[in-house]
Amino acid sequence: MINVKDLHKSFGENEILKGISTHVAEKEVVVVIGPSGSGKSTFLRCLNGLETATSGEIEIAGMVLTDPKTNIHMLRQHVGMVFQQFNLFRHLTILENVTIGPRKVKKVALAEANKVARELLAKVGLVGKEASYPDELSGGQQQRVAIARSLAMGPNVMLFDEPTSALDPEMVGEVLQVMKTLAIEGMTMVVVTHEMGFAREVGHRVIFMDDGLIVEEGVPKALFSDPQRDRTKSFLAKIL
């Protein structure tokens, strides 16, 4: 589903990604962990073109993102993204937040878009909030709307950029539960997170990044209980 070959990304003189190569299979849930500044968020943002790769190749759902001829907007219809700060459209109601993508980008009729949006809001447990505005919702509720907004575009892959880091502790669970449901349903997911419980329980594979490189990757159980590299060991020792 996702193929990354020797991905480099620099901001000016500062090289953030120093050659990332990996593959994500269909229906696979990959969790990316690592210290802050390790480049994990930049890596994720490269996957839907919010950052432009300096060099290397990214292929998603058969389209080559790094090819300048590729229509980035076509590709993004297949790649959903959930942000740390939710980024709900503050001037739109919850229902409109979910319908605006399908309506304006995919030209879906209003009635059809509303129907799909209501189903998705039900799925993330937010029936009755359709007419509210984002500021009236808790962080956990907003993040679940953001997930529904992404799903409304019918993506093949979902990217999560520290989706629970901005949440109060008591709201983390409800968001992780929605993500877990998605994973069980077979969504291909790449998740940058500090939630090791989620990584262990839901992840099929964990990638540990440090200093712009993949240091180590493997099935969660093995990586957490028997890390091979010193850097992985010292990172896990600090957070577990």
Partner: protein
Amino acid sequence: MDPIRQNLPVLLDGLRLTIQYSIVAIILMVVIGLVAALMRLSTVAPLRWIATAYVEIFRSTPLLVQLFFIVLGLPAILPVNQWFGQLTYPILAAALTLSLNEGAYVTEIIRAGILGVDRGQKEAAQSIAMNGFQTMRYIVLPQAFKRMIPPLVNQAAQTIKDTSLLAPVGIAELVYKGEIVIAETFASFAIWGLIAALYFVLIFSLSKFASYLERRLQVDKR
């Protein structure tokens, strides 16, 4: 005879012209300001340069000088009076110059409004596959517009007052008509007082309407 009552129809005709020029200039300044603001934020460098030059030139010279230059100066080197008509050219040129001048300030208001919208909003729009136009039209501008209302109302009030500078270049409006009336009646104090009062009523109702509009948007959309 009471100079005010006798000449009121002339002054009200001037007020009507002032309102007309104000409406035209306010509409045009917003259109021009929006286009120039988008050009200033464009990734295409020449568009940025043109818009920046426009803003700097119109902000750094007095409106009165601009009016004299374009309304009275330009006909000295170009046959604009023949192209547009002896009577039409000054009116067209004055209205356009006023709009361009106010548009330069509106450009900066709109640009600041757009830049004030959180970057995450744009990224979220991009992540649901919106293109640049859709992102601007459906996500960024509606949010920017709300915070632009107070400075835009300020600018609209300024524009109404600036229409008084059309009188020196020979365009008939409230001040122009007032000067005619004073020349006939010598009632300076009463007539200027009345003219000031008329401007006040005009601009005061505008700002009342604006705060009503702002309150409504505040209630409907958070």
